[in-house]
Symmetry: none
Subunit: 232 residues, 2 copies
């Protein structure tokens, strides 16, 4: 018994009414959590979350109409401190990755034992992020693959290396959405000079216009060296 501590409240969102009922029963009977609400509709679920402020939400992410991932994202944006555990029928690395990326505190397969779900809830309640070992492994396969590709890309040959320092400056300003005038103003040079630079950049990057140049820059680890792209 841990009646001395406030029981955590759980909100259930699952478009499969049957599964919803099953989980509700499971939690009611086999855990120390209170079910604060249960719905088959994601939008209603979000509103319930706003209203009742549950500690945890179990969110089915395989819903046809409203995407569960999107719902998680909206909940995170609300910033009401609710911890979302994604429930899914699939162990797709991609799905797991996206769920965790947008802030899910856990990811549990529907096929997993009920004890696992309750354990996940316990861990998440205590402030941790919980992923079953098997899913962790899948997650990292995806995670590492996405960085590996990146390494390979930069290995091939980065046309950006052919740019002069000045051209890099210009390209940097291009990637911030500046036009010729804006760049000229910021670099204290004439607009025609900027045009010259930009044309040289096009030649070196083998592109036809500024949009393509910007895209090339962003996709090849340009500038914002603080950021690394990542497949999602």
């Amino acid at each position: 018994m841990r009646e001395y501590k406030k029981r955590s409240r759980v909100l259930l969102i699952d478009d499969n009414a049957e599964h919803l009922r099953g989980v509700k029963e499971l939690i009611t009977l086999e855990s120390s959590y209170d079910v604060a609400g249960a719905t088959t509709n994601a939008n209603i679920g979000i509103n319930l979350a706003k209203k009742y402020r549950p500690d945890i939400i179990l969110m089915d992410i395989n819903m046809p109409e409203k995407d569960g991932l999107q719902a998680i994202q909206e909940l995170e944006k609300l910033d009401i401190g609710v911890k979302v555990i994604a429930l899914s029928a699939y162990d797709d690395a991609d799905l797991i990755f996206r769920a965790m990326k947008i802030g899910a505190k856990g990811y549990v397969l529907k096929t997993m034992a009920s004890a696992q779900l309750i354990y996940a809830m316990d861990e998440v309640t205590s402030g941790k992020v919980y992923l079953p070992t098997a899913l962790t492994s899948r997650f990292f396969e995806y995670f590492q693959r996405s960085f590996k590709n990146e390494a390979n890309n930069s290995q091939e040959e980065n046309l950006l290396t052919y740019l002069t320092a000045r051209e890099e400056e210009v390209l940097d300003l291009l990637t911030q959405g500046n036009n010729y005038k804006g760049i000229a103003g910021k670099l204290f040079i004439s607009e025609t000079t900027v045009k010259t630079h930009v044309n040289n950049i096009f030649q070196k990057l083998q592109v036809n216009d500024r949009t393509q140049a910007v895209l090339y820059a962003l996709n090849n680890g340009f500038a914002n060296r603080r950021h690394t792209k990542m497949a999602v």
Copy 2:
């Protein structure tokens, strides 16, 4: 006994000679792994790896001279299929993240029970990625925090939601570097129609030209759901 299967070979790299000896003994006595080599020097370790092709490397990443992380990176570049498990005294989220990012197949604390280390080796040998639960949680704290900052930027309001389906298609093609003609051709509509859509997009996204529209799209989780920038 599983003498029927080829015993996996392990290479140990740890600048702490004492710890190195301890691990070696542990593996020799309490596991079914063979120690293919052991060294206190990362560079020598890399050479040993090239020479003896171990299945697994246990790499201390808290070494003063040569950074263990860098060593892992070099090993990954060699692409000899060796699986590296990072050994560390610290459970810094940052360290864990970086180790996993560059391709470590596991991360185990030196303070953890020896059984945990051997379990990690088993998991990694079987092709999985292994992180102890506690470290997984830390990893995800870091992981999610880095995405959260990103999300906050778009927290204000995502103008992309105002786009119609068709406009999204057009914007998607814009983010691939297409000009009017290219988009018209791909959508089988006239160029003027594309112009109309693009203009509407500009209005909705409150930008002045296609480059800014593309940048807005990329920075606000548009389509291109394949790529997301990430602080590293």
